[in-house]
């Protein structure tokens, strides 16, 4: 597949166009990547596809090899692996808080002490997620902008 980048003036909308003979998984993957960079992720719920704005996602969890996006009012499955999303959404204020979970720092209402050196993040949606002791150091660094 050839890649061509064309610069346009302010009078034009920016566009990523994929010209392909067939819409394969690879093409879908590229589409999904471009959308995530633009600020949205593709998620499925009840066999329907949805475009979810990254800013609407409260947290992301990996369960039994599947990855789920949790917004305030829905749960969507995504094809991405948790480590891929960690890398992809680093600049969007998402942080790993336990082995299977990423949280949107902008969606945390408060942090409370949990049992035995761990913390609980209370989200604006009212949900509570555990911040593992092993990731507290990274959380402190992220909040300080390091």
């Amino acid at each position: 597949m050839n890649v061509r980048i064309e610069q346009v003036g302010n009078e034009h909308d920016e566009l990523v166009l994929i010209r392909c003979r067939a819409v394969t998984d690879e093409v879908r993957e590229i589409e999904s990547f471009v959308k995530s960079r633009a600020g949205s992720l593709t998620g499925t719920s009840d066999a329907k596809q949805y475009e979810i704005a990254v800013t609407d996602i409260c947290y992301i969890e990996s369960v039994d090899g599947k990855t789920f996006l949790y917004t305030g009012d829905g749960v969507y499955e995504t094809a991405y692996r948790i480590y891929e999303l960690e890398e992809l959404l680093k600049a969007k204020h998402f942080l790993r808080i336990s082995k299977p979970m990423l949280v949107n720092l902008m969606k945390i209402r408060s942090i409370q002490p949990a049992f035995n050196g761990r913390f609980t993040a209370v989200l604006h949606s009212g949900e509570k997620v555990i911040i593992s002791r092993n990731y507290v150091k990274q959380l402190k660094a992220a909040l300080k902008g390091e």
Binding site: I111, A114, N116, R118, F119, R133, A142
Partner: protein, 145 residues
């Protein structure tokens, strides 16, 4: 949790226990045997007891992150083991009068109070850390809003 961090936490707990056991010995001793006099050797008792109490704390070690429920269960097992260790020492000691039920109850009660206080201190430390994190979170969200 890393084993190194686990050991550091246990070392902090050891010094905390040494202090709390010293206080418990002074309080229970003053109540049940105020005339007793000790030599230098007995000054090591709180350190020895704290060291022995550290052994049952190993049941809380886990390489993977334990759930709150699992940790609570292990803490309960740990308390039972510590009570067992301390009472075993008391019953085999020639200095402690275990024929008096109030002495045995005071020892068991002291262990429980020390256990609660040690966990309370850890929780207070975490609460202070959470307060600091909340301040930093608020600043972070304001900056990126």
């Amino acid at each position: 949790m890393e084993f190194k961090r686990f050991l550091i936490n246990k070392l902090i707990l050891f010094f905390m226990l040494t202090t709390l056991i010293t206080v418990a010995v002074v309080l229970t001793g003053s109540a049940f045997d105020p005339e007793a006099r000790f030599g230098y050797k007995e000054m090591l008792i709180p350190i020895e007891y704290a060291a022995l109490c550290m052994l049952p704390t190993l049941v809380t070690w886990s390489k993977r992150e334990l759930s709150a429920k699992a940790m609570l269960l292990r803490k309960a097992v740990m308390l039972v083991l510590i009570e067992g260790v301390i009472l075993l020492i008391a019953f085999t000691s020639s200095v402690i009068d275990t024929s008096r039920i109030e002495v045995v109850l005071a020892i068991a009660g002291s262990v429980f109070v020390i256990f609660v206080l040690a966990n309370l201190f850890v929780w207070l430390k975490d609460a202070a850390e959470a307060k600091k994190l909340n301040r930093e979170l608020e600043a972070f969200q304001k900056h990126h809003a």
